[in-house]
Amino acid sequence: MKATKKINSIDDLNQVIQSQIQKRKSEKKHVLTVSAGTCGQARGSLKVTESLKKAIQKKNLSNKVKIKVTGCHGFCEVEPNIIIQPENIFYQKVQPKDAEDIASLTILKNKTIERLLYSDPVSGETVLKEDDISFYKKQKRLLLGDNALIDPTEINDYLSIGGYSSLAKVLSGMSPEEVIDTVKQSGLRGRGGAGFPTGYKWEFARKAKGDTKYIICNADEGDPGAYMDRSLLEGNPHRVLEGMIIGAYAIGAEEGIIYVRDEYPLAVKHISRAISQAEKSGLIGKKILGTDFNFRIYISKGAGAFVCGEETALIASVEGRVGEPRQRPPFPAVKGLWNKPTNINNVETWANVPLIIEKGNDWFSNIGTKGSKGTKIFSLVGKINNTGLVEVPMGITLKEIIFDIGGGIPGGKEFKAVQTGGPSGGCLPKDKLDLPIDYESLTQAGSIMGSGGMIVMDNNTCMVDVAKYFLNFLRDESCGKCISCREGTQRMWEIVTDISEGKGKEEDISLLEKLAQAAKDASLCGLGQTAANPVLSTLRYFRHEYESHIFSKKCPALVCKEIISAPCQYVCPIDQEASVYIALIAQGKFEEAFKVIVKDNPLPSVCGRVCHHPCETVCRAGEIGEPIAIRDLKRFVMDWARQNGYQIPVQGLKTDKEKVAIIGGGPAGLTAGYNLCLKGYQATIFESLPVPGGMLAIGIPEHRLPNKILNADIENIIKSGVTIKTNTALGKDFTIDDLFKQGYRAVFIATGAHKSMDLKIPGENAEGVIQAMKLLHAVNLGEKVRLGEKVGIIGGGNAAIDAARVAIRSKDCQKVTILYRRTRKEMPAFEEEIDSALQEGIEIQYLVAPKKVLVKNGKVIGVECIRMRLGDLDESGRRRPVPIEGSEFSVELDTLIPAIGERPDISFVKDGDNLKITKWGTILADEEVLLTNREGVFAGGDAFTGPKTVVEAIAAGKTAAESIEKYLQGKKLARDYKLSRPSIYVEPIELTEEEIQKAKRAKMPKLSLNARKKNFKEVELGLKEEKAVKEARRCLRCELETKDGKNAIGRTK
């Protein structure tokens, strides 16, 4: 490093600045700036720098290219990134191996490297230049912008962008009062928390009595999730120093301290170096620039105490004592460090000062809102696409920051809340997205600006957990001086912890509110006074989440471990202990696994084949790889049990209690009957079709669910004592009154949803238009259906895929086309079913909607369609398809099969039944206990909810059986909520590291495509034993992570 020359006067300084500016301007080289803040370095930016240097040398480009290692460019998400000047090309996620290409293509041949360009998460387009990237576009990077221009370890680089010219300006003619006045007029407010007007603060310290005064730079950035101060210290330390020197001059301080976190080693390194350079240059020290102004700066390192961000605690810490706050007044401006007048500002506040001096207070106060001037840096982190440091003018809305700059929420998830202001701040919900960001608006909304942390949360974030997190932080960081804070944070944490563990009580919420108020009123410093904010703001906007934890023992975001236990079991509507039977499979204990499965599920073989497996969707193994093949494992156990002659032990049950009638023999009715028999009631199922099973029998084709499998489950249900009367329909063969007259004491209506929805387009009544359900029904019952050669299906659900796969199997069918109005991503059918359909030669046309059925002589000859594009999001969170005018086209067809959904057919309900029907055509009943408006009559399954899934219907059957039992026993009808827990805890198996690394989801073996042709043989063949065991061993055994789980297996440590 060149020795820095001492600058002796203001003129000297101005000359040095001018010569450095000229030097920068005359630079003919390309400059490659590598972002190398702490995050950049953690991502390997220094390795990239090395490779770039080598590549430049190798190509003999040293005279054409300069490599500059800079501080953070702000766009942390795409580290390491480099900017090539003067072209302003932005390359992201650069790896050392890319260096050669950058040198040989971009530098030598002026070619851009497509793979290194940023791709916009919203539009999907690649962007060449830094300023065109949506992340940077709406920002106003007055402070952060310079980070990418300078090498923070070189004072000359700072001088070359006009650095220290504000100091020159101040010392060459402004009086301290004028400086203070300028800062006052600018409207600058403290950037570290409460937002006190900086100029006034300075004035207090200036006017305070005493010859010795201090200034302090608060760089104890303790708010978790905020790191703008770190970035400024790392990337532009001289600007902070310049601000401090100006402040010291204005206040009359001769000593300044930078109190910086020890957790920021790079920042400490850079600021230390900057101080020594400034000393050598004569910008700090005695008789600065030949004036009578003396000022020195030293560093005091924090030792990890959040409370030291508070002024008086910070002062105690600088003095080498325990960092406890003290009563104010006297304020530090009067009595601060060593009892002398002291002015404290944070890093970002100091960094604003040179700008205000340089460009004037009017310029500064023109930016922002009435009460909040200038820009503010936010660290946009959490569940956000473009994580990074964002500098925006005050008054911008949350929405602009999160969606325009931040690019929205990753993975298409929904925005839930944004937490601002660190532990003293609060969480703001969706309807606050239009809030303009300034000190007052944020406070009014129940949060604060704080130091500018902005943590974005999606639907997978639990707000009770967030409150618990902050309380845990605060009880840990409370210095303990005030009881209201020390005990208040502790007790609030205990209460919220209980709530998060499913042990919450009704009175907890009001108790929390009282404690929160007490902590606010009676604590000495900001930490205690604001400690309740995370609780109060989450209670204000997300009270329902607290309530669902307390009353229903549910954590909707699936976060609170003690409530969730194993997510697979937790989300299963029928509480199947998946992690338990998986653990047993892993140990080869198939019989025990079988017992665990059948305990909670009367249709286990069915579920092993066609369940929509919500368990797999939430499987934690899926977060780090692929979810466990839970459904396939269940099927394995059930197939094994059937082949080995294991039976569900339900024969010879004593069923002599009251008679109960069940209308509908689908999964809901069968389950209700089975469970009632287990409870000792006499259950009779009335089924209108010739076979029991409902949708399972007639809606799901044989190639997915063979009849013999369904019948095995049904036979078992019959063995439990259930009577099934087929071909007996309500409204035709009997009425509800009849049932009561015949001595039935309760009725459960579970008639399903079998009526297909109409397309509502011209021509749909023509010959050759067959509703999907009708087709599946006919084929399942063995009726002959002629479809012709060309078949078209409208829809994208499971019924559409089922109909398509049935069609392609029918005798003379040659070609099947599915027409779907959205894209594959939005298709509601099971992924694996769509794959199978495609493999079997079915064509799927996306973004296509039917306009009219083409008819000739009363018979279908095709369908006219229109192409669609995806527009804005609709209520379901999917992008709404919008027709493209003039894009009509037609498809020739022999048969058209609409499959756009079903709804309940309640034409059997007669006035005399006295049942209320909803506007959606479903039977009205209580959601919790399934009781209808008529005494003794319950309703559930699809007839109540509209079309849902098999396992949800089974759950409805279970709930109905429980409610009916309570009703017949004369008990109060109410759902019992309890924590989801396994009935037994199975010892975990040990996996080798190699096994962990290599573990991959077991693939379901399938019938070859040839063997599937024109027949209905089951396509999925089932996992073999060895594969099943291997798959089961992958399970992470989440249920062992709860306290109960740890205790059960003796892992209490």
Partner: protein, 161 residues
């Protein structure tokens, strides 16, 4: 490591034996010994003229100080808000399980100490784990094992050299 009185005293004199430098002096001692040995605190107390009880007060108030010997490798798991919402706690639990110690403890063989920090300010790359000063970005419970292995491996290599 044996305690050298002269070394401790040199830390004190480096800061002109000023009382206000207590925290910096303790930081230097911890840097050297990985923790604050009792005898060292006694020496600091005598040289600086600060009662031992006050020194212990400071040493226990600040999170950065340890009165217990720490392991050869310091594993620090960030539990800042951004790391938290991305599953930092699960990472910590995985380290606890793999090392069979709780946060704040040291393994019996004195190889690893497991610590937490409230935020490292590298929120973009969370969950973050720092081992002996080097940062591990976007950790998952699946690579906790391999992170530890890296440090175990190094030892073996060094031993065979």
């Amino acid at each position: 490591m044996e305690l050298q009185e002269s070394k401790i005293k040199s830390f004190v004199t480096k800061y002109n034996s000023e009382k206000k430098a207590l925290i910096s002096i303790l930081q230097e001692i911890q840097e050297e010994y990985n923790y604050l040995p009792q005898d060292a605190l006694r020496i600091v107390s005598e040289t600086l003229g600060i009662p031992l009880i006050d020194i212990v007060g400071v040493a226990t108030f600040y999170r950065a100080f340890s009165l217990e010997p720490r392991g050869r490798h310091i594993v620090t798991v960030c539990l800042g808000t951004a790391c938290h919402v991305r599953g930092g706690l699960k990472i910590l639990e995985e380290f606890e399980r793999k090392l069979n110690i709780k946060a704040g403890e040291t393994t019996a063989d004195k190889e690893f100490s497991l610590e937490t920090v409230a935020c490292l300010g590298c929120c973009a790359i969370g969950p973050v784990v720092v081992v002996d000063g080097s940062y591990h970005a976007q950790t998952t419970i699946r690579n906790v094992g391999s992170i530890l292995k890296q440090y175990k491996k190094k030892e073996k290599k060094n031993e065979s050299n």
